[in-house]
Symmetry: D2
């Protein structure tokens, strides 16, 4: 008799193939699930493999649009960035995948969900917190944290032996000396030789960006239009795109060609370990720069400061830590959307050998910037004497501080 039905996140790779087989051995029925978030994949081959190993079904869902519109675009509105460097490509995909997996689990009447994440990483946390929040009664099987599993499969060779024994086909291509995970937002590279943080990534590692050194000598200029902080139109020398996914993919293509969006960092995982990761995120990098720039033109300075300090900082951490489905993310995202009501306008950019540059920006509707008022040469509607008062009042408190320093024997004029 079956122990119950499991919805397994199945990629077709060695790990999840062995997990699939092992779950069957353990007495579960298994429905496999694979999310299409824009990665390259031989979908038919994955399905064939899953079924051949013994899955009841192999369900593949195209989540590209919800991924771009519900996660990547809010990240752009937020100028999201983790620890000043990482554009959160993996973190953004996880909520969309977890949600779809739960939909499948519910539709297919599964009692369990399962995945092949390791026990030290962020992804297990992101997936499982999402699962539990979406359906608090769900039960989770995490083989890489189950001694029965991880003690049996202590290394890659054990998996290979098991696969051979179980007639699970293993791709003959030699494994790369690092692990990768791709989606529309980025490709990540970690582990293996990258665990040495001083090891420069080999040139052939990057998949979503050409080497800036090999990028074209001729730049390309594009224009991105935003409404309420959302990208709504991309104009390139080749034409215009307004569909969110099409626009995003086109920016990935341009970014690929011009080598834009590589980062190589040591980051802090949620569970308290430091780890090294490399990421190339072409579209996200270009969009973030454009959005950041437009906000300079159209956003109030105090709202911007609050948004940066509280919303951007926290939203990024929440996403990184797997807290997408949480009261706090919902709370700060509500504030984010409120801040974006007037983020309307367009930004002109140049893409060239590894970087994007802003060429100019404008807004047909927003008027917080006024060339006339900003001009040092014009005194219309401006009384320079006011600034004297402004400085005078600001100095009241500071003079007190100055006097206190004198009293303390500290000479502020000394270098």
């Amino acid at each position: 008799m079956s122990k119950g039905r499991v919805c397994l996140a199945y990629s077709g790779g060695l790990d999840t193939s062995c997990i699939l087989r092992w779950l069957l051995e353990e007495g579960y029925e298994v429905v496999c699930f694979l999310a299409d978030v824009g990665q390259e994949e031989d979908w038919a081959a994955v399905e064939k493999k899953a079924l051949s190993i013994g899955a009841k079904k192999m369900i593949i869902e195209d989540l590209q649009r919800e991924f771009v519109e519900e996660l990547c675009f809010p990240a752009i509105q937020c100028n999201a960035i983790y620890e000043g460097r990482y554009l959160l490509g993996t973190s953004l995909a996880r909520p969309v995948i977890a949600r779809a997996q739960m939909r499948v689990a519910q539709r297919e009447g599964c009692d369990f969900v399962s995945h092949g994440c390791t026990g030290k990483g962020n992804d297990q946390v992101r997936f499982e917190l999402a699962f539990y929040t979406i359906q608090p009664s769900i039960k989770i099987i995490a083989p890489w944290r189950d001694p029965k599993f991880f003690q049996r499969f202590a290394g890659r060779n054990d998996l290979l032996d098991y696969a051979a024994h179980a007639n699970i086909p293993v791709t003959s291509t030699k494994a790369k000396p690092w692990s990768m995970d791709a989606n529309l937002a980025h490709c990540s590279y970690e582990a293996g030789i990258l665990e040495n943080p001083d090891q420069t990534p080999p040139d052939d590692m990057w998949t979503m960006t050409q080497d800036p050194l090999s990028a074209p000598d001729k730049p390309v200029d594009v224009t991105i239009h935003f409404e309420k902080g959302l990208p709504v139109k991309l104009v390139t020398p080749e034409g215009k795109l307004t569909d969110s996914v099409a626009l995003f993919k086109e920016l990935n293509k341009i970014g690929y060609v011009h080598g834009i969006g590589r980062v190589d960092i040591v980051e802090n995982r949620f569970i308290g370990l430091k780890s090294r990761g490399c990421y190339d995120s072409p579209a996200m990098t270009i969009l973030r720069l454009a959005h950041l720039d437009l906000e300079g033109l159209v956003l109030d300075t105090q709202v911007r400061s609050l948004r940066d300090q509280f919303v951007t900082h926290n939203w990024s951490i929440y996403l990184y830590n797997g807290m997408y489905f949480s009261p706090e993310r919902e709370f700060v995202e509500n504030a984010l959307l409120f801040s974006q009501r007037r983020v309307n306008g367009e930004v002109r950019l140049r893409c060239y050998k590894g970087a994007a540059y802003v060429l100019g920006r404008s807004s047909a509707t927003e008027k917080l910037y006024s060339a006339e008022e900003a001009s040092m040469d014009s005194l219309d509607n401006f009384s320079p004497e006011d600034t004297t008062g402004f400085i005078g009042i600001q100095s009241i408190r500071l003079k007190k501080y100055g006097l206190q320093k004198v009293e303390e024997g500290e000479n502020l004029s000394r270098a």
Copy 2:
């Protein structure tokens, strides 16, 4: 009889030359002061001009070392950045200049200090708040906010007429259609044609960076060593530098050649106006990237998060707004220094056509990163079951949220 002695910040340009002359006419004695913060200048010519107009003295001080060590380097420790883009080059120079001007004013027995800043800008605020804090009793003459002055000199032509009449020599070179201000940290470009935020800066505007399009096809790799967050050694293909100023200037040179550090933004001035500014900051850009990267390797994640949210955010705003000499800057800088006690290590970087890239980083002394522990393949000293407990506890609160959503009729699994 003299109305008193004024220490005037004198640059040798048209504005401050007219102000010098006007102060004399108004009955003041004037001691001129010019700070050397690394800008290009014909110092002898400036002195000659000041004295010929009637200054009592022309005092020029080399502030390069205190500028680099006391302002630029703390900014690097802080990863300082204003509104996500601007590295604060002008803001960093102001406190050093104001302090030196006050030293001169005190030494020369001046009752007044004066400057040529306009009434809408940030610099007047930065200078004057510094003056008042350093010496609360000082009196300030700000001609561009004094109706007697600004009503008489309503435009550039009035100044030119006045100069001609007073035999003040005017440089014949045609003025650029924007204004510039240079120091070791950057050169700024604003006003004039740049007041249109959609006007792309002309190629020949930038002075501290070559056009990335003209930069060499061959990258250059450098290594920067940090101790307590401070750059202490630069290794280039040409040799090693350990002196702070020499190291900083060498990075400016490398950044110039490879076109690194241009930004073009619309920013929010302290007085509430938006303005457009362009800045090229080669050394600061490279150093900031290196420091940011090293912190990933050696800084605790919670301290980093606090430092980012609280110190970096606020320190940058304080500097921008002229609050260097303030209790709040002193307060956050104390926290900053505390955070940097273990920021020791080195970062290898590549400079190429407009951008710098991290190639790797290491630290001989710091051990928060451990390749062994980070490795997904190793379970030494790690119990994967712990993560199950960690996730279980984190989910207690989130499950409540999930149940609340169900109750509200919101289906979290729906896209």
Copy 3:
């Protein structure tokens, strides 16, 4: 010919009576305005006096409901407090008054608004920033900052002489040795003898609270019901009230009798001066405690922390500094309202001799608290082993810190 029409905030007191007269002398037409925000006043006498001095009209508006509902209640939702002590009674009234004065000015076709605030206080800033934001084209006459006025009326005696000369009736009652300002939220006491911060306020100063020492020996218990963080019902031994203003006034009455809500502080004014203020705020004090308590029962901990750090802190400062009509206040208030969607329930309180105490709280609709789950004795749905994992993972980072300390020669176990 008239210089234009002024809408003057007129209280009937000596200052604004002299200002009214002076404005007329200066050639303005004056419409007087007085807001009823719940203070005690002989409204007919004020009107008679204004008209007798020469005002075109005397307009009195009852703003009590909008004051309570639009300002006091959001402050309660926010647990608003300035510098940990002050419940912002005056700050809350200003936006409502300024807005009503602008409505009158617009209706009456006034080109100017005027007020009797002094040049060192917060109120001038609060009123004028509100005026300018509501109608950017408005012109403001602030006599106490106009040298023509303040040099002529250097002290109270000058005003009395002027009043005598102009046949302005002056109340014969001896002025109190402090100034007061009352509204439904509180009465404030400052200046005069209170300028010595070590001077204990005399017993007869307080007007909205009885001395706790004279309060009844018998406490009174009340219940306050909240919906979405708003007080919707008050139950007292005498009955139930659901109307916002009635409920608020009843709590003022109960707080008066039991002496609840006195504070005596030194605070920091927006313009950078420290000043001493005493305030009694009975209803606000009781409501704030009740709301704070209810949030413990029904609000998510992370949302609460964010709301405290970001919304409560900033909203209070914005209100204090006169930034009610501002993008930043609107931004944080949007977040505030979002946080209050589930703040539903009731709190039972005891009022007794100077303080209120919570007796208990409950919510018919909210379920984040569960006695069953909180109970140490029950292990249903709880695996104690999870906490071991939780602690284990949390300790990864902390052990690194511990090892670092050992390495630094610091012994954490030493006192």
Copy 4:
């Protein structure tokens, strides 16, 4: 053969007596430890009981001074408070106890530490995170999270049976229907009947405060002197105290008599459960009010705001969550101490029937407050026109906002 030596936190109660016995049965040697943090205890009886059950040693250490000076006083400097209500009495004691227990464990050559904390509470986390940080190699035995133990002892009766069987003497006094934990800072009451958050605590529950209703009709006035934010002298009608512990205990006594410092809340535990707790903290309540008040007089407004938002908020959360021994607590405490350098002065207070009231404050050394400057009547060193400029400049940005609202069709003057 022994499994090793355990240092057990032993209170003499039923739980830890059974744990002691069980550890011995399991084959460990046990050294018992009990911290004296000011609670009432029959120390000799505890020792006798431990030894009679079989402990190798019973070590009792007086930690009162380090508790007051190293934890309670920094909490006062910080105005520490959790979720706006709780003064952290238990949280403050834990680091001191954990540290002393580790000292004992190290001195006695223990391989393990153990405690009787339950699996749902905060204390287990606080103790264990401290243990692990102080000595990362330590091993912890937490019986209430060990299935072998908690499955055997499912309820109080199982413990009683076990005690009877093992000849462990059990106090005959009937257990109270709640649990308590006392130290110098407070006594806490939770669980049992208190798990119903609407159950008013019975009058006889509170142990460190008299019922305000029974408190004397005559108030007592005291003066507290601070240096660098630390209480250094207490003056009461009965005399002066300068010793930290003596002063603290005297304030506890005064607070007891006058019924000061009761709170009753629902709080959020670190592990994500809400729980109800009652606390009476007489000395802490009085000291916190006095310190908060003094800061109004002597602390710069911007430093205070930063300290409140970042240090006070976070320090309190860190302590509550057991993160005393952590990089982040060390980081914010460094900032805290820096902020307190000039918190010098004295505060006069009245204690009366449940509350303390400030009567006045002064500082012989600090001069940020100036009655002269604050006075509305004096214009010495103040130009009222400056405020006009200050308001004018502040309004630049706000007018833009006002115009935006008009454009959006929103009328800011409407209620």
